[in-house]
């Protein structure tokens, strides 16, 4: 209430007052050049991932075109098929650039999908805990606290050791690792929001629990969720890469960036650096870009820092 009054009276940023919330958000976000660079980075990575089959020089999965004679070519050398391997080839003669594009695709898919499903699960559980309170809340939060007291990599290790390799399995493992963060975040916000008048008003109108929770409570809990979600996607990509590097994540048939790095690791000591380094740079670029965006979102969406 006080916030809206002060906003209409004086706008300290000196921006025109007729901006929609979304426009205001965009202009706030763009104030940081680093964050804009991060956003552009995320966009580039996402576009490469989506259009990988069309922009890759070769298809690294097509065994007919992969030639073992091409194996471990240095960057810039020409392959048997006449295509120049801009960043070299790997131990099986696949063009690294194409492998990286396809790998990026798998890494991003795994990260985004597990993040999204974990968000859904976490939101449902967290909202339930906050809205009903009492014993339900205690029970749910005990489980969340217990899980968060173990590091993510350990839980993922336990799950993958029992489940085995596979895209579906690593997504399951990442969901199990991540849901608790979302549940805790949404519960914290929802507990504050729940005591506000509009929820009381909605309850007085005899709206169903479901409607109050999803139509009234949830939209007001979104800002911190967006921040946690962004950071968690970066974490999921990083964790997936780590697990694949350890050889317990994705199967060899679906090489993500982590697996590409792992494949190149054995050649690195003999000076064939490119097989490991370039996928690593792409992975780093992706993670840092997402984190930069997340960092800026945290500042922009934090009501305490509202200028």
């Amino acid at each position: 209430m006080t916030a809206t009054i002060s906003e209409t009276l004086v706008d300290p940023t000196g921006k025109p007052a007729d901006l929609s919330p979304f426009q205001r958000f965009v202009s706030d976000f763009c104030e940081s050049k680093v964050a804009v660079a991060g956003a552009i980075g995320v966009l580039i990575v996402a576009l490469i991932a989506v259009f990988a089959p069309w922009i890759s020089p070769t298809n690294p999965y097509d065994l007919a075109t992969v030639d073992i004679m091409d194996s471990r070519l240095a960057p810039g050398k020409q392959m048997m098929s006449g295509v120049t391997a801009v960043v070299g080839t790997d131990g099986m003669g696949r063009d690294m650039l194409s492998s990286m594009f396809y790998g990026l695709r798998i890494s991003l898919t795994v990260g985004a999908m597990s993040g999204f499903i974990a968000l859904m699960v976490g939101v449902c559980v967290g909202l339930t805990a906050a809205y009903f309170g009492g014993r339900v809340d205690t029970l749910i939060m005990r489980v969340v606290d217990l899980q968060l007291s173990f590091p993510a990599i350990l839980i993922a290790l336990v799950l993958l050791a029992t489940l085995g390799k596979g895209v579906d399995k690593i997504i399951i493992a990442l969901i199990v690792v991540q849901w608790a963060y979302f549940a805790r975040t949404v519960r914290g916000t929802a507990l504050v929001e729940r005591r506000k008048e509009y929820i009381e008003a909605a309850a007085c109108l005899a709206l169903s629990h479901r409607r109050i929770v999803f139509k009234h409570l949830l939209p007001n809990c979104l800002p911190p969720l967006i921040v946690v979600g962004t950071v968690q996607i970066a974490n999921a990509i990083s964790l997936e890469a780590t697990l694949s590097f350890l050889g317990i994540g994705l199967p060899v048939t679906e090489p993500s960036l982590g697996l590409l790095i792992s494949n190149g690791f054995e050649y690195m000591l003999s000076g064939k650096y490119w097989i490991s380094i370039y996928p690593g740079i792409v992975l780093l670029f992706t993670i840092v870009s997402i984190n930069l965006v997340g960092d800026r979102l945290r500042d922009v969406l934090n009501p305490r820092l509202e200028r």
């Binding site: 173990f150 590091p151 780590t242 350890l246 690791f265 690195m268 992975l283 984190n291």
Partner: protein, 325 residues
Amino acid sequence: MSVFIIRRLLQSVVVIWVMSLLVFGGVYLIGDPIDMLINPEADQEDIDAAIRALGLDKPIHEQYWFFLINALKGDLGSSFIFNEPALQLILARMPATMELAFASLFISIFFGIPLGMWAGLHPESIAGRSIMTGSILGFSLPSFWVGIMFIMFFAVILGVLPSGGRAETTEFLGMQVSFLSWDGLSHILLPAVNLALFKLSLVIRLSRAGTQEVIHQDYIKFARAKGVSEKRVILVHVLKNILIPVVTILGLEFGSVIAFAVVTETVFAWPGMGKLIIESIDQLDRPVIVAYLMIIVFMFIVINLVVDILYSVLDPRVRLQDVKA
């Protein structure tokens, strides 16, 4: 006080029991236990004998009971590959992991606190800003990648440090350690720094935040007004007050250092527990996997319990709240 400790102990027992259920469920129910626990090269007669010996022909609740009783006796099965009790195998690898973990804790504390204090005292300086940027990188870069870069740079390009492995151990206070020789130090340096990076960033952040909070307190102003030298203000008045939260959190994080050692040990071929578990997962050596998981869960619970109790000693509000609840 004793009420609090008893409550926490009971909770820990419950957690261990729940974890034993999960691990049992994971290994014995999800896959085929015969595939997992019996050497696949055995013939039919041996398999039948092993099924009877392992009690796999019995109903599931009896099997779980069997597993639990054996686990309590300290028998977590024998490794297929090494043909040794799994527990012994892991305990034999434990000193190497512990050495690495303590080395990286040491690095986090002795570099993290001064760097963080510097950044807190000079937040606008170039050094202060670079320290903070560095700590963001330490948080967000995947540690296996940083490890590879270390090997690439220091072992392949410069050739000054070994790319992996552990040096010959010597006996020190009844333990086998490798950090006493020059060769041992050169082997442990890269993995320890690699494992420390994440904690180092955490310590930098904590001590920076702590310094910025403490520096504005009245007792600091008073100490300065009294004419205490700036060096003494920082080294005694500020340092002492930021030390408590930093050390507490590091204690809590010790378990995660051991968990993350899995990655570092694999990158640097460090012969610890973490490398063993990855090899065991690769070779489907299930008894070792189960034993590792149970041991590490147990360690975590002990660490959490000790930290909780220490906390309640330091801050009586915690235990009063808990007793009331």
